[in-house]
């Protein structure tokens, strides 16, 4: 009896130890980033190592705002993420609704086809899409970053699963009342699926905010950059890498998502779980 208790106690301790260990691992880079952003350049690379800066201050942030169009870049990132998300949510929910709640010839085949398109890796279409964008003169705009991904198979799949759980009665009632199909979508379905839209929207938003490859290929002028790009531009071979400023920029790039995450984390994780388990 006592050994049972003891083994339970050690079991619990082990579990907590594991959890705390993993959490430390997860938090450590964040913390180090913040601390580094408060150090002076000499303190960052110093032997012996300096952990806590002697006079922590915001000079790196000030320098960042003076030398880089930070607000413009934050705005860019925000616009790209938001418009991309709204566009994607619109098209994906529309198509998901169609697949979920309608019967039409070829539906099964069309849907299987849609799933099949997820097999093609983006590496294959990388060059042609770039060439298309070049000919459309969309380089250095946000369009290449939001249009190709607007109607994407994952989103449609997700929405279809989600919408299929809604009962048909409301739709039937609306049709009897003479509502057009799009109106039904816009005024009835959308409000109902708001939680699902939030989840999916969060996934899209995050992806767009943190994206590197798309902006790397398509955004040319520094004032059109997104936050990850600006951070990356601060390492240069020749010249001192401004670690303190770079870390300051990194901290700034994380804060908006962090806030959104902390508020909406449940929705976000529901979205991820739904995509996986029902898949």
């Amino acid at each position: 009896m006592f050994t049972r208790r003891l083994s339970r106690w050690t079991g619990d301790t082990l579990m907590y130890a594991l959890l705390i260990g993993v959490c430390t691992f997860m938090l450590f880079p964040f913390l180090w980033m913040v601390i580094t952003s408060l150090k002076t350049a000499d303190e960052i690379f110093h032997i012996p190592m300096i952990v806590i800066p002697a006079h922590p201050d915001l000079h790196a942030y000030i320098y960042l705002m003076q030398q880089y169009p930070v607000f413009r870049v934050i705005w860019n990132t925000f616009i790209i993420a938001t418009s991309g998300t709204v566009l994607s949510l619109f098209f994906c929910s529309l198509a998901g609704y169609a697949f979920a709640k309608f019967k039409f010839p070829g539906q099964k085949a069309l849907f299987s086809f849609l799933l099949g398109t997820m097999v093609i890796p983006s590496a294959v279409t990388l060059v042609p899409i770039f060439l298309i964008m070049r000919d459309l003169k969309w380089i250095d705009t946000i369009l290449p970053l939001i249009i190709p991904g607007a109607a994407n198979a994952f989103g449609i799949f997700f929405m279809r699963q989600y919408i299929s759980t809604i009962s048909e009665d409301i739709m039937d009632a609306a049709r009897i009342d003479g509502a057009g199909e799009f109106t039904i979508y816009w005024r009835i379905i959308v409000p109902i699926i708001a939680p699902g839209l939030t989840s999916l929207g969060l996934i899209f938003f995050m992806g767009a905010w943190n994206a590197i490859m798309g902006p790397l290929i398509y955004l040319k002028s520094p004032e059109n950059f997104t936050l990850p790009l600006i951070i990356r531009s601060m390492t240069s071979p020749v010249g001192r890498t401004i670690y303190d400023t770079q870390m300051a920029a990194s901290v700034i790039s994380i804060i908006p998502l962090l806030i959104i995450f902390l508020i909406f984390q449940r929705r976000l994780m529901e979205g991820i779980a739904a995509g996986a388990v029902k898949g």
């Binding site: 619990d12 579990m15 594991l18 959890l19 993993v22 959490c23 997860m26 938090l27 880079p29 964040f30 180090w32 980033m33 960052i44 012996p48 190592m49 098209f91 529309l94 609704y97 169609a98 309608f102 019967k103 039409f104 849609l114 398109t117 093609i120 890796p121 983006s122 590496a123 294959v124 279409t125 990388l126 060059v127 060439l131 249009i147 607007a150 109607a151 198979a153 449609i156 039937d172 049709r175 003479g178 199909e181 995050m206 943190n210 590197i212 490859m213 990850p228 790009l229 951070i231 901290v251 790039s253 994380i254 998502l257 962090l258 984390q265 991820i272 779980a273 739904a274 996986a276 388990v277």
Partner: protein, 312 residues
């Protein structure tokens, strides 16, 4: 054109009717067709056309400006002799085996631990462990570079101070760089995989585990004989995702190592990107992308059929 009302009370059968009925079906279904149209249009342009054009390009030599030169199978032949590309494929496998088992196992364990009623602070731990996922890789990668610096990084300093270990060349050696990359990947994706596992766990009715406990099974046994078998689909899903992921790794590699010392951490996707946008060899990059596509597809098929067979 504007259908004011439509009755859907009659179910529609279309299989054995004469053709003109089919057209009426299609006409009736103009709304759903319209709704799904954007996807197919987008796919037609950015998917189908692009894939075909890429196939065409793979038989050419082209720098993006000037005339396109058809060269037949030359690119594919070169690919087979391209040691860097072969290395990148090897790296895909290597990295997969290096981080996927560990990450999947850890994700599962963490999910089980959190899911068990014995641990308090579920929300708190889940939030913290998931948090790295929301961070952009540029910020994370550069932070890791700082932390893993051989001479000045905090990790080596701590190891030296506490355990007296000589400085480890994290980013300076072949295996060091691979391990560092895996550390970054695990850091970024563990929470995500854990959430997937948690969702899967929640589909396991708790009566099962409780029944097992009553029967005298200890937690370890219930873990291996109940949880893992029931979680197989979820684990499979996670692993298949990770396999495609390890070949397609881009952000982490690009920021942390750039391909690593002596191409040790180069992944196929980064190689394709370099050939296309640093060397401007569009034809060659397209050929590379196709070979990559074929290999990836085959791997996914193998994985799914092998593991899929063993799922009840």
């Amino acid at each position: 054109m504007l259908a004011a009302s439509r009755s859907k009370r009659k179910p529609v059968k279309s299989s054995s009717k004469p053709p003109h009925s089919l057209w009426r079906e299609i006409a009736k279904a103009r709304w759903p067709y319209l709704f799904i149209f954007p996807f197919y249009l987008s796919f037609f342009i950015f998917g189908l056309y692009s894939t075909i054009f890429s196939f065409y390009l793979s038989f050419t030599e082209w720098k993006g400006l000037g005339p396109i030169k058809l060269v037949g199978l030359k690119n594919y032949v070169s690919l087979f002799k391209d040691k860097v590309f072969i290395q990148s494929m090897e790296n895909g496998f290597l990295l997969f085996f290096l981080y996927v088992p560990l990450m999947t196992f850890l994700a599962l364990i963490l999910a089980v631990v959190l899911n068990s009623k014995r641990v308090r602070g579920f929300q708190f731990f889940r939030t913290i462990i998931f948090m790295p996922f929301i961070m952009n890789i540029a910020a994370a990668g550069f932070a890791f570079r700082l932390v893993l610096n051989q001479k000045y990084g905090v990790v080596n300093n701590l190891l030296a101070g506490i355990f007296n270990i000589p400085p480890i060349p994290w980013l300076e050696s072949i295996w060091g760089a691979r391990v560092s990359l895996c550390l970054l990947i695990i850091w970024a994706w563990l929470g995500y995989n854990m959430v997937i596992m948690l969702a899967g766990l929640q589909t396991i009715p708790s009566e099962l585990t409780e029944a097992a406990m009553i029967d005298g099974a200890n937690p370890t046994q219930s873990f291996f004989y109940i949880i893992i078998p029931l979680m197989r689909p979820v684990i499979l899903f996670s692993v298949v995702l990770s396999l495609m992921g390890s070949f397609g790794l881009f952000n982490e590699v690009f920021i942390l190592t750039g391909g690593g010392p002596m191409n040790a951490t180069l992944t196929p996707f980064v190689d394709i990107f370099n050939q296309a946008f640093a060397n401007f060899r569009f034809g060659y990059a397209s050929a590379m992308a196709y070979v990559y596509f074929v290999i990836l597809f085959a791997l996914t098929l193998i994985q799914v059929s092998y593991f899929g067979k063993r799922v009840d």
